[in-house]
Subunit: 451 residues, 2 copies
Amino acid sequence: MPFARLVLPDVRALLTTAPSELREALDEFHPADLAELLTQLEPGEAAEIVRLIPDELRAEVFEQIPEDLQVSIVTAIPRPEAAHLLDEMAADDRVDLVADLDDETKGQILPLLGIEEARELHALGAYPENTAGGRMTTEFMALREDMTADEAIAHVRAVAEHKETIYYGYVLSPGRELRGVVSLALLVQAKPADKVSAMMETRVVDVRADADQEEVALIIRKYDLLALPVVDEKHRMVGIITVDDILDVASEEATEDIHRLGAVAPMEEPYLRASFWSLLRKRAGWLVLIFVGATFTGTALRHYEGLFEQVPALMLFLPLLISSGGNSGAQSSTLVIRSLALGEIQAAQWFTILWREVRMGLALGVLLGAVGYLRAYLWDADPTVMLTVAVALVGIVLWGCVIGAALPLILRSFNLDPAFASGPFVATFVDVSGIMIYLGVALSMIPNLRA
Amino acid sequence: MPFARLVLPDVRALLTTAPSELREALDEFHPADLAELLTQLEPGEAAEIVRLIPDELRAEVFEQIPEDLQVSIVTAIPRPEAAHLLDEMAADDRVDLVADLDDETKGQILPLLGIEEARELHALGAYPENTAGGRMTTEFMALREDMTADEAIAHVRAVAEHKETIYYGYVLSPGRELRGVVSLALLVQAKPADKVSAMMETRVVDVRADADQEEVALIIRKYDLLALPVVDEKHRMVGIITVDDILDVASEEATEDIHRLGAVAPMEEPYLRASFWSLLRKRAGWLVLIFVGATFTGTALRHYEGLFEQVPALMLFLPLLISSGGNSGAQSSTLVIRSLALGEIQAAQWFTILWREVRMGLALGVLLGAVGYLRAYLWDADPTVMLTVAVALVGIVLWGCVIGAALPLILRSFNLDPAFASGPFVATFVDVSGIMIYLGVALSMIPNLRA
């Protein structure tokens, strides 16, 4: 059982009977554990606990709880305390929180912020939340080319407290253009008089402030960085993104893709914290849309209604055949969507991908066709029905693979999220066409059958 | 277009005409870009390029290419060069590579390794690849409690070259027990005579060597660490895992889950690098298994065959109804599987989860039932068929939600991967029971209908 749920009853008891004892106890927790504890409490209790947390830990704990809980707490505590808490937060987290506050609360708290903090808020607020600019903090360590290693380390010591990370120093020109990077490791190992300009790495990997956070995650992962500098359109350095934030981004992006693949609109709150109604909305939208799409299976069947009266055995294989198309399509779309997300393939490689899926669809179709033929044989089906099932399976599975691979590629080429081509969505698409393939094959293979 | 594909033709041309020019050109590349380039080449070409890479970059580049390509290259180049390359690699990457070599190559290369490297290989090789022990490196920085800040920094300078990261120093007892941790940032800011024992953090977050790598990723993410110390059963420190390795782990685990959710057996190679036959195997296994499961839809339909002869309109709604169960089930299983993977929910909370899904299933079922009723009305269906469709939808969607949530929880409580309860798998399970629910409802609601 997670730690936070274990101590929950004790914390609740102390909160009402002996808050000062609780204050002392909280000092012993790791900030991440305290954050986990807060998420297990009612917002009102969480707000009381936040006020009890020692000053030097409070902001660090607060930054790690979900944004909806942050909003409840900031709204619940006295305004000056809220402003003080915001002042102490990292600049990037502060921006995200302020963006979620209602106008009244915002209007009351913002005037109470520190001048420097208000300025940062304004600068960072200009970038959308899911871009490099929205994820960065301005608290990076800047160095000058003409510093010696000794001067640089002295500078690090002087400003370290206010920086998000001091493991990289970024060497800027007087116009704040990014010239190079030097790691603290290198500074520590250098001779005191060595020049920063001589030891800095000039081939710096950076990212534009308007880049998508998914791109940031791919770059940090590829180059094994602890932090990535963010530059504006004139290559002036405006901030950094640290790897711990990117671990969260990578996890959020994977969650978003996984939810989309399961035909659930992405949500930020954990499953059990999301309200019933918000979860219902996230699910109902897609489910109804797919349901309406699936009603076309009825339209297709209506068109061929007479066939089942002539050969009732055809119906026995109907769910089997259409689900086979959906399943092979789900496989293809899953593979293509994940590869696109990881940057392993590009939409421009569509021909290579589709050609591979055509061969794959044929191979899988022949395999399932053989198994289907055998199954029909065991049910004593008529030989022409057996053949119809086998041939239709090849066509349907092939079709499923091609559609499953093509839809995400098409979405990507229109700059939409490929993960909208979820398994259920592809399956519905393939279901309708699968019925037509199946009954089309039946019409051409079974003698005397009339539409 | 990615950088590596852009320079590919030039690199190929230089490789045959002017290798020495190429050697100079390679020096200008970032190691991560060189690694990307190697993955675009044939193994034979890649081996030649690896030999041209400057000595001090070679191992760093080599560590970043996929393991199957590492094996091809090591097997292709002269044995002494291969051994030298292995000597230069990080200990954790070396172990993974050696595990993949065939016995002959291993027998020829291992005797050529350095003594220290061979010893590490032996120590690390004892841990399974996907555990903390299998992912760690032994090259961490150890400090003693009685050191001063100045002595500690001097020690850092002396040993830095051989350490995976020097940003954390781990304070060990004479018996190598983990006592505390101190960051380089803190050492740099301390007064020279400050004692390590006074400034170290004693509440160290660590992990046992036999912990699963997924747990390691959750811990590093929760506590925002750059590196996590790994201890043995006696709390002696044996290694560290760094955050850059964990970014890869998180991405691999997400890929594995996503593939499983799409009913594809997980694979390590990127989609277009995987051979056709290996991909076919990964897909055919699950597809055939699900297909055989889906043949039970035929068995169920056979049981009720007479019903469709009496009321043919029932058939028009069949694919619609069973796909609705599958889709709502896919939503539930996706949500539960992802929440389990993120540690947001535990299998022990099954009652809360299932109760939520029962209410969700009823709400979604009533919604789809209403839409289905309307659709049946527009098709001029018989009123009792309309009611049958609506009532069956409530039952099927409810059943889909419950099964979709229950299957991953059951798998987890047997210590199996919940992601095996993929959308297609759940859908097949729900398809068969959906037919029985539908036709059971029809039998009880349509007068004079006989089984």
